[in-house]
Amino acid sequence: MAYRVSSQTSELEELIRGCIRNERSAQEQLYRLFYPRMMAVVRRYINQDAQAEEILNNGFLRAFQKVRQYTFQGSFEGWLRKIVFHAISDYVKQNVRYTEQIVLVEKDQYIHKDHADRLYYNQLLELVRSLPDATRAVFNMYVMEGFSHKEIGKLLGISEGTSKWHLSEGRRILKEKIEKLQLHIKR
């Protein structure tokens, strides 16, 4: 097994080196290798499929252009994810309008485990994607990427208070929708 892991690692390195040499075959293999995981990231932010793919391709293009800067230290997937995320945040920053909101207290939202267990991946993903654009972006960045409100504020050009408001709003909407969905399922 260890041999296989090291083999895969060396294969990935070969692919990266091929990308450095601007070899299409290596670029294609790398693209196909990381497409599913990177697209999952993009889809959490972008509703439309075509738009999501365009943003993902822009992220890959940046990665191929900057692949020389990868030092082969640390996870390549993490490096690639960061580049793709910047492509997402650039899009979001340009296309999503935020209204300045101030929230003084963050309200935690809990749901019952029974409701959570009955949720499928696609259902939850659809619920997240149905959030308003600005709220969805902040919610994803806070929950999925682990950014702080300060970092989100810097990335999206909004204040920390606005970020907190969007997060709180996202949680509230999601809870309502999940509960409504469960009621609908029970019927």
Binding site: R24, A40, E53, Y121
Partner: protein, 653 residues
């Protein structure tokens, strides 16, 4: 509601959505490829690494400097420490006067007439840096050196020699053998007998107020004179004139006689340059009681006015022995061939400066007083062969020797640098054109080609030169292909209880090409013997990207089946395609190799040569590119060239 049955909405979303993957949409890669083609076109050659190229160039420059420097060191037989000072005007033959001892500051502290004159001579040297050379051809049979109130006659017996005399001395009278120019601050009767030996170092004319100087003259058949136009213009004080006149009458009949006449100096033939690797104007005699001070009166030799009494210490001046070698470089005006010969050698004393306790000053002064001008035997004309180490060195002498050694070491490096710079500045550079044919052998095929370019030659002397070319080589393909057979399409043929079989197809994969273009920059050292010459050096090559056609066919060997016994696992790479060359692997690359050759100069400007080049290393990055290099570029090549030298230009320093 119990919190245990509840889950935070963040945790729910994070747990459900993280680690998920999306299926690839059809055509996603095609869109990506379009984007790549638009922004990063495929087939872009391997980007040129300017940083690495700069490194190579720096290394090459260093190599060239080392070769040239090594050559210059080999050409400089004097070695470290041998370049030393020639008292008086002899030092003015240095192209550049940069000796620490010649600083006006130092000279100003020696308030003697001689010093003033020499300072003026130094000023002249510093101002124009030109050599003053006396050649035998240009020197009159009898050259009169005149300082008001004195005169010296120098007779040159042989026109084949090129004596150079020391000048600017108080006596104005020197004796220089025809076999060589010599100058010394130490003239004694005891040693001048040997002065007629060829190349023997002997001297006169510095610090020569003593009768001993004149007694040395009769033994010298060839007498040169002093040649310093600036020194000649400086009047000699009355007292010194008187002293010159007061020489014993018995010496008047000797070969070098004191006659009043203007000092005549002659500039050298521009084609004849004399390089004097020695200089100093601070020549006084030893403080060890052996020699008479030549410029500093004995009474003050131990302590110079205005240069002492720093507390309990005083400045002590003393001397150490030096051998001065004077080389002459003669450039033939027609062929511009340069010949360099050892011209003269001389012995002198060099002054060193040292702080000594005041309590020892008296003893030192006393010792020096014994070397007064009245002590005739204290000045010596020292033949080079007759140099004897001074015995009985005190602790001071050892320190002085160390000091002197350090001084000489620093000076010799400076000398070497200056001389190298001077020589390089004088070396003519010839631009030319070159062209010819070449052939390269690869895999049993001969690839013929042609080359054309420019050449440059920096001629260090008639034997050695640095020869370089910048040319383009075009080689024509003669049925050669770049082969890269590989195995593809692996699949399992049977999986049984006892064995597993898998098969792979063999593919004949190769590249066709028509030409190979290469830029060459050979940098070589050229050694010429009469009309023949040898070349050796490095060859920097830049192979341009090849225009090739990729061909793949199923090999005649067809499917190859491999059997794996039960219990063994299939190799991890059994179904992985082997590394195969790609078109990108035929991209441009930089290489370095060696060059060896020999040639013949049909005329001074036309030459033929045959050379062998072999690239040893290139910057091929991928395995495929390395295979291409191994098949095509890292192979020996023969070149036959015809070169024509367009003309020479003398480089300015």
């Amino acid at each position: 509601m119990d919190r245990k049955d509840m889950i935070h909405i963040d945790d729910l979303v994070r747990g459900q959505l993280s680690g998920r993957e999306e299926d690839e949409r059809p055509g996603a890669w095609l869109h990506m490829r379009e984007l790549l083609d638009k922004n990063i076109p495929a087939g872009t050659p391997v980007p040129f690494n300017w940083r690495r190229f700069g490194g190579y160039m720096a290394l090459l420059s260093l190599l060239t400097v080392m070769v040239t420097g090594g050559y210059m060191i080999m050409q400089n037989p004097s070695g470290p420490g041998s370049s030393s000072a020639v008292p008086g005007i002899a030092s003015s033959d240095m192209p550049v006067s940069s000796r620490a001892n010649n600083t006006p500051e130092t000279d100003a502290e020696i308030p003697t007439h001689t010093n003033i004159r020499e300072q003026a001579a130094n000023t002249q040297k510093n101002s124009d840096g030109n050599s003053i050379t006396i050649t035998a051809a240009s020197l009159p049979a009898t050259a009169r050196v005149t300082v008001p109130g004195m005169q010296a006659t120098a007779t040159v017996n042989s026109v084949s020699t090129k004596p150079v005399a020391a000048a600017g001395q108080q006596s104005g009278k020197t004796g220089i053998p025809a076999t060589g120019t010599a100058s010394s601050g130490n003239n004694t009767d005891g040693l001048h007998k040997e002065t007629n030996k060829p190349h023997a170092a002997l001297s006169s004319g510095s610090g020569s107020n003593t009768p001993s100087t004149r007694r040395a003259v009769p033994d010298i058949n060839n007498i040169a004179t002093q040649h310093n136009p600036v020194a000649a213009m400086i009047p000699v004080p009355e007292s010194l004139q008187t002293r010159a006149v007061q020489q014993p009458a018995s010496r008047q009949g000797q070969q070098a006689t004191a006659i009043a006449s203007p000092l005549r100096t002659q500039r050298s033939n521009p084609m004849q340059e004399q390089q004097d690797m020695t200089t100093t104007n601070r020549v006084v005699n030893s403080g060890d009681g052996y020699n008479t001070p030549s410029r500093i009166p004995a009474a003050t030799a131990g302590e110079l006015p205005g240069k002492h009494n720093a507390g309990n210490f005083v400045t002590h001046w003393d001397t150490v022995e030096k051998i001065n070698l004077v080389y002459r470089t003669v450039i033939d005006p027609i062929s511009r061939a340069r010949t360099r010969t050892l011209d003269t050698a001389s012995v002198e004393q060099m002054v060193v400066e040292k702080q000594v306790p005041a309590s020892r000053t008296f003893a030192t002064a006393e010792r020096k007083a014994s070397n007064s001008l009245l002590t005739p035997h204290s000045n010596a004309i020292l033949p080079a062969a007759g140099i004897q180490p001074i015995t009985g060195h005190t602790e001071e002498t050892a320190v002085q020797a160390k000091h002197s050694k350090q001084q000489r070491k620093g000076r010799s490096f400076q000398d070497m640098f200056m001389e190298t710079r001077y020589t390089l500045s004088q070396a003519p550079f010839y631009l030319g054109i070159t062209g010819g044919i070449n052939a390269m052998s690869s895999g049993g095929k001969i690839l013929p080609g042609i080359q054309l370019g420019l050449s440059g030659e920096l001629e260090l002397n008639e034997r050695w030169s640095v020869y370089t070319e910048l040319k383009y080589i075009n080689r024509f393909n003669n049925g050669k292909t770049i082969d890269n057979p590989y195995i593809d399409k692996a699949y399992l043929t049977s999986v049984g209880a006892t064995e597993t079989k898998y098969a792979r197809d063999s593919i004949n994969h190769y590249f066709n090409f028509s030409t190979i273009g290469t830029g060459n920059l050979p940098i070589t050292v050229k050694y010429s013997v009469n009309r023949l010459f040898l070349l050796a050096g490095v060859d920097i090559v830049y192979h341009f990207s090849m225009n090739a056609e990729e061909v793949s066919t199923i090999a005649a060997t067809g499917i190859r089946e491999t059997t794996i016994p039960a219990g063994q696992q299939l190799p991890a790479s059994w179904n992985q395609p082997e590394n195969m060359m790609q078109l990108n692997d035929l991209g441009a690359r930089l290489g370095i190799g060696y060059l060896l050759g020999a040639g013949y100069k049909a005329t001074p400007n036309l030459h033929l040569d045959l050379r062998l080049t072999h690239t040893l290393w290139d910057n091929a990055g991928t395995n495929g590119a390395k295979k291409v290099s191994g098949q095509l570029f890292k192979v020996p090549s023969l070149q036959f060239s015809l070169g024509y030298r367009l003309g020479g230009t003398r480089r300015t320093p």
